[in-house]
């Protein structure tokens, strides 16, 4: 189904998932405006928002099913399998986070149902960021996402940590936006274009210039912040710890996924001609991110912080596939992001259920003896840890396998070795979690009695854990899909030659 993106009708059609979601966010906002008193309203708003995600997913599926593709130039927004896959990934993460939030918010006494419209708007931003075909859309999508997430990080207004997390995220985020924007300006200057394909064509036709190099460097800085690559990572542990737990899950999986998807698209469409320039940068970022993330995670006692550093390390692994800059690499990014998000959502879902109302954060020692009281929760968390570790037979292993093999096939051997060293280090912090739950006795008799695992969260986490195991041994459908999708990112033929 060719869509003319320069016409208003075509643009509407192409943006259908985002529009549906925005519209539904307005619907929820309308509901919220009159009903924001008690837990019941919270639940209804949450349920309504999940319906919105389903509608948006249906719209995405419809576009994908009709084989929507741009007629002529991909204008402002991309229309390819990669975007649909990205949208599906981001929508499922958002929906899962919404499900996990429903009872958690009520338990923590955060009775502000505006949470759900904000989450939906953040998702709209993520979808625009990951689906942008134009630097303007990219920047605006990024800002919609960021602004919503700043607010969500500070949503638990009664806790100082939450406000502090929001402030840190906001200040450093705005700072990073400045760099990204400068990069966009210089890229625009070097080519006179904002459109990905046109910039790519321009770069392909001319040797790299000073302005192009600086522009690309600054754009990379902006992305490095969003994916929390070392040394742009320092905000992540603090923000992850302070933010409400479901939002931490959202940031660790959704925001990171959106940033990575956009990075892959930008590097594949805008800067393919400058690959020899940006590869060393990605190499350095990947190496230092893997090492610092894993080593620092070793000395953490708070679960959220540990997972934050582990998220940093995983960003480092993902950079391997970015380095590869190939179809395998693109597919590997998709697979790994799915594997990682499934795992991280399940892990944070379980952690959220363990958190007591008002308590600061779950520490490793708080998990001791969990197995004897909550066997299913502890088995689930153990499986998540093993998946993050890349234990064979889990989905995490498949993801890591594809990352490493993509990098190897692109001719890189140093990074895979660093990644494997990092993965060997990571045993030192994932394993103690399993150890504490299964092999240590509970500190007190009353420990874990306050754990409430509401049914929606239980179902969501259960599905995730099941998916980790199932996709670990039977991943071919997903893999085939990712491989087919990845090829489409390269297939965008340029109807207009360079100027």
């Amino acid at each position: 189904m060719p869509i003319d993106l320069s016409s208003p009708g075509g643009a509407t059609l192409a943006l259908l998932p985002e529009l549906v979601l925005t519209f539904w966010a307005l619907v929820v906002l309308m509901y919220v405006a009159w009903h924001h008193r008690d837990g019941h309203d919270m639940r209804t708003a949450g349920g309504l928002s999940i319906v919105g995600y389903i509608f948006a997913a249906a719209a995405t599926a419809w576009l994908a099913w009709r084989g929507a593709r741009p007629e002529g130039l991909s204008f402002m927004i991309a229309l390819d399998g990669f975007r649909f896959a990205s949208d599906a990934l981001l929508l499922w993460i958002a929906a899962a986070v919404a499900i996990l939030s429903v009872r958690w918010l009520i338990r923590q006494g955060i009775l502000a149902p505006e949470y759900y419209p904000m989450l939906m708007l953040a998702t709209v931003g993520m979808m625009l960021l990951a689906g942008a075909a134009d630097l303007i859309t990219l920047f605006l999508g990024l800002e919609v996402m960021s602004i919503s997430v700043y607010v969500l990080a500070g949503f638990d207004r009664t806790r100082r940590a939450s406000a502090e997390a929001a402030l840190k995220y906001f200040l450093i985020g705005a700072f990073a936006s400045g760099f990204l924007l400068y990069g966009i300006a210089l890229t625009y200057g070097a080519t006179g274009q904002f459109n990905f394909d046109l910039i790519g064509a321009q770069f392909a036709a001319t040797p790299p210039t000073l302005m192009a190099k600086l522009g690309m460097g600054l754009i990379l800085v902006g992305f490095a912040f969003k994916i929390a690559a070392v040394p742009f990572h320092a905000w992540a542990p603090d923000v992850y710890e302070g933010a409400p737990t479901p939002i931490t899950a959202f940031m660790a999986s959704g925001v990171k996924a959106a940033a990575f998807l956009a990075l892959v698209r930008v590097l594949a469409e805008v800067f393919p001609a400058l690959v020899d320039l940006w590869r060393p940068v990605i190499f350095g970022l990947a190496a230092i991110t893997i090492l610092v993330g894993n080593l620092t995670a070793l000395s953490q006692t708070s679960m959220k912080r540990m997972l934050a550093y582990s998220a940093i390390a995983h960003a480092g692994y993902l950079l391997l596939a970015v380095w590869a800059h190939s179809d395998e690499g693109t597919a590997a990014v998709l697979i790994y992001l799915l594997a990682y998000s499934v795992t991280i959502v399940a892990a944070f879902g379980i952690l959220a259920s363990i958190e007591r109302a008002g308590a600061r954060t779950v520490r490793l020692t708080d998990l001791e003896g969990l197995f004897s009281v909550r066997p299913f929760a502890s088995i689930g968390l153990s499986i998540c840890m093993l998946s993050l570790l890349g234990f064979p037979g889990t989905f995490g292993f498949i993801g890591k396998w594809y990352l490493l093999s993509a990098a190897l096939r692109a001719g890189q051997t140093t990074l895979p070795v660093i990644a494997m060293v990092g993965s060997a280090i990571s045993i030192g912090y994932y394993l103690p979690v399993v150890l504490a739950m299964t092999l240590k006795p509970a500190r007190t008799r009353q420990a874990h009695q306050t754990i409430r695992f509401p049914r929606p969260a239980r179902i969501a986490v259960g599905i995730c854990v099941f998916a980790i195991l199932l996709l670990g041994v039977w991943p071919n459908t997903v893999l085939n899909f990712a491989t087919q999708t990845a090829v489409q990112l390269r297939q965008s033929e340029l109807p207009i030659g360079p100027r």
Partner: protein, 656 residues
């Protein structure tokens, strides 16, 4: 029938899931747990026998069983979730389900009173699943699932009695040492992928010869990386430290995982990838030397341990060294042969030790004594109360010492013979042979000492406790009897020519290692007279060791760790009566003891390897992590400074 091999995995998997659910929902339903736990193993064994039988009549030496496409890489290349039934995996299948089933049965009696009974069986069944995946896997990644999985189960079972902190630490240590090894396997896997473009075992075997020239450095690197994995899993120098600590788990676990099956996975892997090792002769030398050294060092440490399970643990390390020596000389079938016979007699020894510990534990418990039920100084004279256990342990001791015609004699003799034969080509193997012979002597010595301290003499655990001593019930002794029979007769599967045998196992495994053997220079035959001399030397070593061990132990005074003063005088009298022994002790035993205890065990093992090697690395990593954590000082200003440094670096990289 061969295609049904997945059932052998599915049965224990079902058992694991069912027992896990029972552990969570109905931990008290012990009968159901026993029926499921042992039943699935029986089912798997039946499948194994069927598969084996089918393979005997199958003209193909190797049958792929593709279950589904696991990781499609590209249109033409995909890693399947597939099993490969060939002569090697079929025989491993039999050993694992057979010995595993017996140990499951033993566990029914042994763990009966444990509150974590259902959880225990869930772990044990899960272990069998992973072990079968490991041996049946058609490609390295599939086997790697099993490889990592058995490590996980091993760790869960070592820490099974989690109330004791040391146990969970031991579990952690085991997993850590294994992970270092696994890193090697991963590296090897990616290097193979990189060079050969395949990870299927058959593919590796076929392509390796075409891609790597003999003696190529790439093949050497891959082989050494693989071997690093093997040293971790099979507890060889330098990663052997975890195995003695692993004895913290229940004794049947030690028998199943840390003696009969999992720890032999390294040997199995070397045989599986023999074609790569064969292309890098240096790697085989490394395997042989490490094996021989481990055999010698571990045996010498075993000489002076008092914990009955520790003796057996060091003995296992030592015997694994033998197996590596075997495969390192290119006598792959001999390595597997010893693996099988070792599975029989070492499982028997551990289960026998388990019976002893079980009985003593029971007795001490009733006598309100807090003596250590695993310390051999608290035993003695148990032959009176536990005749069955004693005679079966005696059989196993004769087998492990290499006394003809017990099974261990044939397998050990083959390895020694092969090492000697290879020594005529390369002198380093002669050194290995000498080390192995010394190890054989020490093995016989410490086994005789163990037997003498445990079953002979008089009971040192107090008369009150003695009243409660008795042989184990039949669910426990029954498996011992079967294992005893196997220990005696196990040798028949590969009877050498000089006793009229046909070397069945060697011919059976020939297709598996054919490529590797074609690459290597053939083992020279040792001629009649020198062959006889070799055998005589081996038998003499066993005999001297056994008699010496028995002699020294039964003459020596054995002090209980909690010795009462009135007993003191009596023991002193005995001590002075045999001052010849004292002399012997001073001249021969004391230096050996000093060497084994102070130098090898405490310095090398506990300090160098444990503290500096494993611990030092961990501490370094933790220190760096602490540093990284300090950088996270909560100050936005500092964070943006790091950010700016990064930005400057990136821009400077791009614009020089």
């Amino acid at each position: 029938m061969v295609q049904l091999v997945w059932l052998a995995v599915a049965f224990p998997l079902f058992g694991a899931v069912a027992n896990a659910l029972l552990a969570i929902r109905r931990p008290a339903a012990k009968t159901a747990v026993s029926i499921i736990g042992v039943g699935v193993l029986a089912g798997a064994f039946v499948v194994a026998v069927g598969v084996f039988n089918a393979l005997v009549h199958d003209p193909r030496p190797s049958v792929p069983v593709v279950l589904w496409h696991w990781m499609p890489v590209s249109e033409r290349l995909s890693i399947d979730f597939a099993f490969r039934v060939d002569h090697l995996s079929a025989i491993m299948l039999l050993v694992i389900t057979g010995v595993g089933g017996l140990i499951h049965l033993f566990s029914v009696g042994y763990m009966r009173s444990d509150p974590g009974y259902a959880r225990y069986f869930a772990y044990l069944n899960l272990f069998i699943v992973f072990m079968l995946v490991l041996v049946l896997g058609a490609s390295l990644p599939v086997s790697f699932i099993g490889w990592e999985g058995v490590g996980l189960c091993s760790y869960l079972l070592i820490g099974f009695w989690y109330e004791i902190d040391a146990n969970s630490d031991a579990g952690k240590k085991a997993f850590l040492a294994n992970r270092i090894g696994d890193f090697g396997v991963l590296v090897a896997m990616f290097l193979l992928w990189w060079h050969l473009g395949t990870l299927d075992f058959v593919g590796i075997t076929m392509r390796a010869g075409a891609v790597f020239p003999i003696g190529s450095s790439a093949a050497l690197l891959i082989a050494l990386a693989l071997f690093l994995g093997c040293t971790g899993k099979s507890a060889q120098i330098p990663l052997y430290v975890w195995l003695p600590d692993a004895m913290a788990g229940p004794t049947p676990v030690s028998a199943l995982i840390h003696a009969a099956t999992m720890v032999t996975a390294g040997v199995f892997l070397v045989v599986r990838t023999a074609s790569v090792f064969a292309l890098a002769p240096v790697s085989l030398e490394v395997v042989a030397v490490v094996g021989a050294l481990t055999a010698f060092v571990a045996a010498s440490i075993g000489l002076r341990q008092y914990d009955i399970k520790k003796v057996l643990a060091y003995s296992t390390v030592s015997q694994l060294g033998y197996m590596f020596l075997g495969v390192g000389t290119g006598a792959f079938a001999s390595g597997i042969f010893h693996l099988i016979t070792h599975a029989f007699f070492k499982a028997l020894l551990f289960l026998g030790a388990g019976s002893v510990i079980h009985a003593l534990h029971h007795a001490f418990h009733h006598a309100h004594s807090d003596a250590d039920a695993q310390d051999m100084r608290n035993m003695g004279g148990l032959r009176r109360w536990m005749p069955w256990t004693f005679s079966l342990m005696l059989v196993a001791t004769l087998a492990i010492s290499g006394v003809p015609p017990f099974s261990g004699f044939f397998s050990k003799d083959e390895i020694l013979g092969a090492a000697f034969a290879r020594g005529t080509q390369h002198p380093i193997y002669l050194v290995c042979w000498a080390l192995a012979l010394g190890a054989a002597l020490m093995t016989a010595f410490y086994m005789a000492r163990l037997l003498a301290m445990t079953f002979l003499g008089r009971f040192r655990g107090g008369d009150k406790a003695a009243e409660y001593l008795h042989d184990a019930p039949w669910t426990m002794t029954g498996p011992l009897v079967v294992l005893g029979l196997l220990s005696v007769l196990g040798g028949v599967i590969n009877l050498p020519h000089f006793v009229g045998g046909t070397g069945w196992l060697e011919r059976w495994l020939a297709p598996v290692t054919e490529t590797a053997r074609m690459t290597m220079t053939p083992l020279p035959e040792v001629e009649g007279a020198s062959a006889l001399l070799l055998i005589s030397l081996a038998v003499a070593a066993a005999a001297v060791g056994l008699i010496g061990g028995w002699w020294v132990t039964s003459r020596a005074t054995i002090l209980t760790p909690a010795q009462s003063p009135e007993e003191h005088g009596f023991w002193r009298a005995v001590y002075h009566k045999y001052y010849v022994d004292e002399l012997y002790q001073k001249v021969f035993v004391n230096p050996t003891v000093w060497l084994s205890r102070r130098v090898l065990w405490q310095t090398v093992d506990a300090f160098l390897v444990d503290r500096l090697g494993v611990g030092g690395t961990a501490r370094l990593a933790e220190g760096l992590g602490w540093l990284g954590s300090r950088l996270q000082n909560g100050q936005v200003a500092f964070y943006v400074t790091m950010f700016a440094v990064g930005a400057v670096l990136i821009l400077r990289t791009l614009v020089r």
